[in-house]
């Protein structure tokens, strides 16, 4: 057997290759963002930050600048210029006793006043949920209300997707609502969203799906598919299978923002049409954790409503 000579030396040399200096844009992006970051909200905008970080730095920097000016403008309007931006005063977190006029916890996710729904708590990216509290998410279109689950966090939301995780690992439990923009066929070709999404999912050779069952999501009829990734399916280098995209400039098996599963996932997909819009609800966890996580996922689904704004 041939044994690699001086393995540790080779490993050290190999690790030594690569960049030693950070790009200038990275430093600028951090320095631009610090002035608008408040302390004492550790989960602030985690999910949204991910999205933002996927943009070109100049675009992200531009958005940060817009946010700065926007926050300044709102502060001037609301407080006559007396408010300091990014000051030490903490922003209140959602509370069970909150009123409909409770402020959004981050400026970037402030909903329009007309979309607030009476008797619920506005939620923003990074907020930790509490059981027994009813929340409204208005950054997704259409806005929805849902019942909170202890330990779950809204990790990211935008008009076409909203993701809730439990724990630090996405595999521990994911509840995701999205409006797909494109789909990825078996083999990776990009295609428009088919009119019959359930049939399209059932026809995929890389998924193992049970027969669809009828469910109701927020008063709208949908179909639920329970499944796993078929053993031997063509997954990408990260052992994942991406099948739909909800946004972003590119949609590929490797770089999509959208619906995908790890090979060891158990999942349930709900296809539901809400006022003419086809939505996908994805409930996923590692197969080993499924029995423990599923009640929480089902509770999320059962607590949904899509009230009309206003």
């Amino acid at each position: 057997m041939t044994r690699p000579p001086q393995f540790d030396q080779m490993l050290g040399d190999w690790l030594g290759e690569g960049p030693e200096v950070a790009p200038r844009e990275l430093l600028e992006a951090v320095l631009v963002t610090i002035p608008i970051r408040r302390r004492r909200r550790r989960l602030l905008a985690v999910g949204r930050r991910y999205r933002m970080l996927s943009m070109p730095v100049r675009l992200a920097t531009g958005i940060a600048a817009v946010v700065v000016f926007g926050v300044v403008g709102v502060s001037i309007l609301r407080f006559g210029g007396s408010s300091s931006i990014g000051g030490a005063s903490p922003t209140p977190a959602p509370a069970a006793s909150g009123s409909p006029s409770a402020p959004s916890s981050i400026p970037t996710a402030s909903p329009s006043p007309t979309s607030r729904i009476s008797g619920t708590i506005q939620i923003a990216d990074g907020d930790l949920l509490k059981a027994g509290v009813k929340y409204t998410l208005t950054s997704f279109t259409p806005a929805f209300t849902f019942a909170g689950q202890d330990g779950w966090t809204l990790k990211g939301s935008d008009p076409s997707s909203a993701a809730f995780w439990v724990g630090s690992d996405i595999g521990q439990g994911l509840f995701m609502v999205e409006r797909p923009a494109q789909v990825l066929e078996v083999g990776g070709a990009v295609a428009p969203v088919p009119s019959d999404l359930v049939a399209w999912l059932q026809a995929r050779s890389d998924l193992v799906l049970a027969k669809p069952t009828k469910v109701t999501v927020g008063g709208f009829a949908g179909q639920l598919l329970d499944g796993t990734v078929r053993p031997g399916a063509q997954v990408n280098g990260s052992n994942a299978l991406n099948i739909a995209c909800f946004a972003g400039p590119e949609c590929t098996p490797d770089t999509s923002f959208g619906l995908g599963f790890a090979a060891d996932n158990h999942f349930q997909l709900v296809v539901v049409s809400v006022r003419g819009q086809t939505l996908l609800v994805d409930m996923t966890s590692n197969a080993a954790a499924w029995n423990a996580v599923h009640p929480h996922l089902a509770a999320f689904l059962a607590g949904f409503a899509f009230p009309l704004p206003g």
Partner: protein, 184 residues
């Protein structure tokens, strides 16, 4: 000097924090790249870590541990990026079905290529230990302190990672020997 900056930044001085960022971002980026093996992901991880550092700095009790504390934030951000990558932005690696026959002069490049692939297959927790030990040159006890895990865990992660990397290189060497008509 850095200690003073840390204390000031901890108290809310953004200029002091900006100076800390400027002085440490290269190290953080180099660390993140070596764990993630991807420039864009490293970029995102460092940005997340730096913003997290600003938010969490009031919790840092010992200013002299700032570097290790920041490294831990970077490593944790790398874990998150790696897991996000796993699901949403994964890279496709096409493995060749038949390894090419390589002349001896190319074997070093083949080893590096195999090392790269084997390293990418490691869990991020093992990659971090390998990088902190073999790239940063930290002793295992310091790796344990940096990551906030027991030294025994560090040892086992390093052992497992090294075993897998060695196995990949050895398998590659055996294949090259066979295709060259030599006994493995």
């Amino acid at each position: 000097m850095e200690r003073e900056l840390v204390i000031q930044a901890r108290d809310g001085n953004r200029n002091a924090f900006a100076a800390l960022v400027a002085g440490s971002i290269d190290r953080c980026y180099a660390l993140a790249y070596r764990i993630l093996r991807d420039l864009e992901l490293a970029h995102d991880a460092v940005q997340v870590a730096m913003l997290g550092a600003w938010e969490d700095l009031p919790d840092l009790r010992d200013p002299d541990r700032f570097d290790a504390w920041l490294s831990r934030l970077v490593v944790n951000a790398c874990y998150a990026e790696a897991r996000r990558e796993r699901r949403w932005t994964a890279k496709l690696h096409m493995l060749p079905t038949d390894p090419p026959t390589l002349p001896d002069s190319a074997s070093a490049f083949a080893d590096r290529d195999e090392l790269e692939r084997a390293f990418r297959r490691l869990p991020p927790e093992q990659r971090a230990v390998v990088v902190l030990h073999h790239y940063r040159g930290l002793p295992l006890t310091e790796v344990a302190l940096t990551l906030g895990i027991p030294a025994g865990t560090v040892r086992s992660r390093l052992h497992n990672a090294t075993r897998q990397l060695r196995a990949a290189i050895e398998a590659d060497s055996r294949t090259a020997s066979r295709t060259n008509g030599q006994p493995a």
